[in-house]
Symmetry: D3
Subunit: 334 residues, 6 copies
């Protein structure tokens, strides 16, 4: 096995991914080493060409997290997020946001050209510094934040709708869409836009102590993409959910390789199946304790062992038949 | 303290109840020793007279459980339920049901005359013998059962609506309305009738392992009455939820005196308060281990210690003021 | 792998079962496509022939659940259970019961001819509609029910004893033998009949919240057969143990494919080993979420990974030796 | 309230105990400041006199822990236990044991004279140093230990039987009777002697992680005395059940004042009631954090609030009546 | 009882507080209605006068939270925190910080004049917007933040040391000192300054899922003040620790009146006692569900019932004596 | 697979061990069938020869448990431990201890000759009979015990230091070093000797209810060896941690084959990795329910599946760079 993934071209990386047993690959739309986003938006031929370079892997989605992130950013993080934008836009958040909106439209067009119905993304954030209500949040602040966020995304969402592409927001701390309540607020602020959907990633819910299983039962119909990522939250007498400004190895909440954390994936795959989810299960890997090559190698069989073939018929249909009202009434004593 | 409650007349029993520290009393509308239901339905004067015999206790509601029970009954239980009907109707379930419907209307009229906006009751049951799907339930059976149940209750509910009285079904094993799912089905079958409401009693949920706290968050707006009753479910290697046909002292699930069981009443009162419930908290007592006199005496201070005065203002309103959009946008960096 | 098991003849189905890695098969004695029960009861040659058609799989037991079910049935379920009996007996529960008794005797004779020492079965039920004590169960009702049940089974049990065959009742909701307490009562009603034994199936105990591990420690000596079946019980704020008349996919309690549910099979196999159980571990599969072919394929390696070779000697016997009283007394300071 | 209990004479200490609200008192039979054991064994008049000095408190039992302790002792503890014996017996365990046997007989006679049917005690220990099987226990060692222990106690038990007095062994670490298994072994070794009973004290079970509630359900019929004593076990990453030779304040397992520990006394009193226990609930107090005067003062109302009046009739007997077989059979559909 | 606390003067409010059963009162040093901070810093006479106006209540501490808060603030919150500063400093965070430093010195001098050895306070925050490491925190950022924070507090701490007053930082979300890890970092950045101490408030730890009991065992020697405040954290499928920008009534984490939340105060008082804490237990009350008057009234008996008198001697010292080496060696077999 | 391990010579046993998939082997230094300890201490050539007989397995450590055990023993166990010493020393604990000290020195020299930096061992015990403080431990007893124990080990530890070998005490009931607290006391008694280290074995902590995960976080830097051994503790109403003198199959606490017990090995390997442990993971196997051959065969893949490759770089280093103070201060708003 390669010591380090050959992350420099689509053919090279997909050859390596395939060797581990994966059957699909999600592409980072922002990474020029892997794909030329503008070209993909403009040319279906180029997209077909890309698909021919994957060593037989299916392209599952084009990810657009970094671009979505820049659609909205509170000034407290402006300098830190500049790294995701072209150098000429650094220090200019307003134009950076406009650029991000255009990028999202490229992703949408490229997804359509690739024949991909959904792109996972980030929402960006205006309110994140105020998650804890100290200082007290003034009346109307949250509403104002979501109003502005919706206003920025509305044109992108409409554009996505025209191209038949869903946006699947990864609910993620640091974004203004990070749990069910914030998702609902955004949905409402966009007039229940049909393209507002979810990239389900249980690792971020573990770190929030959110009931990530019950989440599927409530929001299942909006889940359009799925990151299979593990995490653990082990608070101590020294630090809890806010993590004491510690680094990943020392924070109580940390991402883990698949199977090493606390996510009950048996239940996750079961509830997603029950909710009718039938798209890809995409490994996302971050782990502070285990090498990435080991993590990647363990991921493929882990996911395979969790896939569920849905039943072709009910297990207890042996007595089944059409409904018979007269008989039913007899049984009820009527 | 009296050895045995003097349960033979309204003045006598209320004197005793008052001596224990209670401030209200729920009346069993079916019990002639306590009240004459027909007279109460017909005469507001009689109702005023009744109210004058309570030693200053407020009448909280007229209960109608036994009558509601007889509105619908599967034949398997017909003989057992005859005890709740006049002797001349024994063995005649059809006329017994008609009688029960008329009884319910009397309760509604009497409640109006008493100035009481709600009557707690039972739904009766047609489907209860089929709770476990063995033998397999044929297609359409459950729908048929609820269709019939709704058909029987619809005239009563409309009558209740005309008199401005709510029916609060106590969700209870043995009735077809015993949990949230069955309540929803009945609600749907009655066309979301506004008078279909709930008498919340957590003891029956403990014995079902149902999340009785989350229940309030979902169904709070339909909760119109509240039985403060405790229970415990302690399964063993010998018996579980179905109880092995054991008697109350040996069943794993059993009712208990307030504070002796597993109901988290701190949370119950909190969530009911959060849901806006502002009617009575009525002790219902059944306990196989403790004498009723002791149970009753302990109940009054127990309930009193759980009552919540709702805040007159928010605890952190010191910085509060009208919403200021310009300021809010500055705070968001806009 | 076949899309659908070829469930139409013994050679065909056993070929498929074997291809999945199983080494034995339990036969449904009631299913004419698989075996002719009457012939098997009458002819050892036919039984040998059957054993020759299994592609090398061992026949583990002849199951007799459907016949046992019909030995006793409360009228509330008569119409629903008719499907298990020949058409000419439909609507005639009395003769149906007589037929069922004869069927059980055929199973016993066939088991003897097959060289099988036990048949898993159901007890049937007279009391099941009264599992919840509302309406209150009258004095003597439960005793009467078990007296009648024992009276019906006594001749079968004696017949089984004569043929050296155990009956292993699967403790199952819907039957009157569904937990430890009911098993004890039946045992007592049959005079502690030696042929009254248990088919241990933890899935039914999960759905009752019964301590299925402790169960083995109490009843281990009577466990003569074992269904390896998984289940999960996940109550919500909408429904609990009684299931809200919901279907399998929505009920809080549901069967699952092996490894997908909540049964702690590590403990189950450990305690069965500790109790001296040494017969078969038979997959029984029902799952509302997963296809039966996948469930069956996963079952064989799952079971194999749980089998325990019992030790040939104690791990700490290095210092062991015969008991030496004088030395022991010295050690105790005597 | 007194700063320090006046523990120097029966009238003085009982006056103080009474002032705290207690209604009874257990007397330490070994303590000459409180009573003269020999005199009490010999004179009923003296016993009556003692009873007249208790300020109206009932004497609940004569405790005989220290004497029972010395009936048997492993040499490893001989020097440490000498403090409980007269100075002239120090260093002479054999005669000390003989003295202890005589003491126990005095206690039995005194109890009879006091009209007290039970004396709580300790069993002493021969095997305690071998609780952990390293070094491996040789074959027969445990049997030998219990054989000797039973041989020493047998004459005392027979003497107790002649005087109609039960011995209630407090199951306690350091004694050879410290849990259910050891109690059963002693019971067997004494030929199921009827006078072998239990002084139930849940604090010692908390520190053993033993299911102290289930214990009552198994051994209830042998529980003849009850110490109401609280404890908590809070293991850490530094120490667990063996306690690291730490002192009481630092050990993970420690005794606590009533209500400050982990004993679920609601359940304890419930299960004792269910088991038919109707004797005294005696405070025993040891706490490393709280002053004894505060602990004693809090104990009386704590115990009072847990007492249960048993019901005079079943709560659901309204439909009750004599058993009616014909009706029962109709209900079962027979 | 008064409908609303008369919060307008020291005599008025202390009269009310006393009527509820409290014996001490913590004064908000920033509130001119209650005290004149500058005057108190300058005049011991004025302080004595203040102490004479408390209706006999002891002044426990002068709180300095609002001033401490303004010592350091990230720009994202500058506008929101201006409310705590005089109007003329609004919009001028630099001068506001200088003012806050002077305020803290006044508090220190006033505390000394009042004879109070500790002031509870807040640390302020520079890093709070970066609690979640997205965007990734650049190398050195956290160190820089604590360096600056320590630099601002160092003069105040030295001033406090000169006056013999401890600062007890309330570890609180929104401040840079919010858990054990951040406290340790600040301690280190201030060179383990002896005046850096803790105002222990378990409510803020409940909302962080931090082990608030273990916290006492680690940091006990630095705990100099104690807020008795309750809270509950009940995450759902909609929101978790970050709270979905919901208001207090809907957030999963919320403050509660004493006894209504999840803090195990029995353990808190026990561990504080074990750690040698012997200063005040000060009620701090915030609750979104219960009226403040009810909360205040319930608080006094709640706290009283948790106070622990420390033992005057060990409970098992009856055998105690001076250490005897020879005897000890005999016991060890040496 | 062999029915029984060929445990009679180094080549034979290592061939078998290797066939199961193991890559290393720990040698019992006391067992003459496997190695000649004296020869190994004296001859590096013999050690090289030994290493050549392992069929390519690496020798991980020389174990010295039995010798360490005999360094110190309370008289209560003298007879039982004689089996570990040569027959001529039986009954002579003093010379036996001297012999054990010499043995330990041989192990140290042999380890050095083998190129092995650590030997796992036992501490022996003087205090073990007094683990439960009844009878009350006299003042100074524990200090005296550790003083003596340290005095006996000090020369061995110094000898080990001279030879560059660590002693890794397996914390084990029956030894005086059995948890963190006792380890700390011994460390202190030996003047924090650098050669006092730990052989981490979670099975012994499970049986003590000790937090074996947190243990690693505290003592990680002293962990120099690791036994991968599983266990379960399942207390009942009959027995708890002291085990009722029951045998292994019936004791609530018992060792188990890997994966069959309660040790969370995912966490164990993670925390050991986080603590920087990089030496061997050595299977130790004891199981009362499973045959040793099966246990050994399952162990190798179990351990392999838990090994962690440490990361070559941080997963989120994409934005990483050298620390930039000016930028950091801008981000903090300074």
């Amino acid at each position: 096995m390669a010591d380090e993934p050959p992350y420099n071209s689509l053919p090279a990386i997909t050859a390596w991914v395939k060797s581990l047993g994966y059957t699909g690959v999600q592409l980072p739309s922002w990474d020029g080493r892997i794909m030329d986003l503008k070209k993909a938006a403009e040319s279906k031929d180029y997209c077909d060409e890309l698909k021919g370079q994957t060593n037989g892997l299916t392209v599952t989605e084009l990810a657009s997290h970094l671009q979505g992130q820049l659609v909205a950013s509170h000034p407290a993080y402006d300098e830190l997020f500049d790294v995701f934008a072209p150098a000429e836009l650094h220090g200019n958040p307003k134009e950076r946001s406009a650029w991000a909106v255009e990028q999202m439209k490229l992703v949408i067009r490229a997804s359509k050209n690739m024949g991909l119905p959904v792109s996972p993304s980030f929402s960006g954030a205006l309110l994140w510094p105020t998650i804890y209500p100290w200082p007290q949040r003034p009346a109307g602040l949250v509403e104002e934040g979501f109003k502005e966020l919706a206003a920025r995304w509305k044109p992108i969402l409409d554009f996505a709708d025209e191209h038949g592409v869903d946006l699947a927001y990864e609910l993620h701390p640091g974004e203004d869409l990070y749990d069910g309540a914030t998702f609902e607020r955004f949905l409402e602020a966009t007039g229940n836009h049909p393209r507002v959907n979810i990239n389900y990633d249980p690792s971020h819910f573990i770190l929030q102590c959110l009931d990530y299983i019950g989440f599927i039962d409530i929001y299942g119909s909006r889940i359009k993409a799925f990151h299979v990522k593990d995490a653990e939250f082990r608070p101590s007498a020294r630090a809890g959910v806010y993590g004491g400004y510690l680094d990943w190895k020392q924070r109580p909440g940390r991402f883990r390789s698949l199977g090493d954390g606390q996510v009950d994936f048996k239940q996750v795959f079961t509830r997603l199946t029950a909710a009718g989810y039938s798209s890809w299960a995409v490994l996302e890997w971050e782990c502070c304790y285990k090498d990435s090559v080991q993590g990647a190698a363990e991921g493929a069989p882990f996911i395979a062992s969790h896939l569920i073939d849905v039943p072709k018929r009910a297990f207890d249909d042996f007595a089944g038949a059409a409904s018979d009202t007269a008989r039913n009434r007899r049984i009820l004593g009527l």
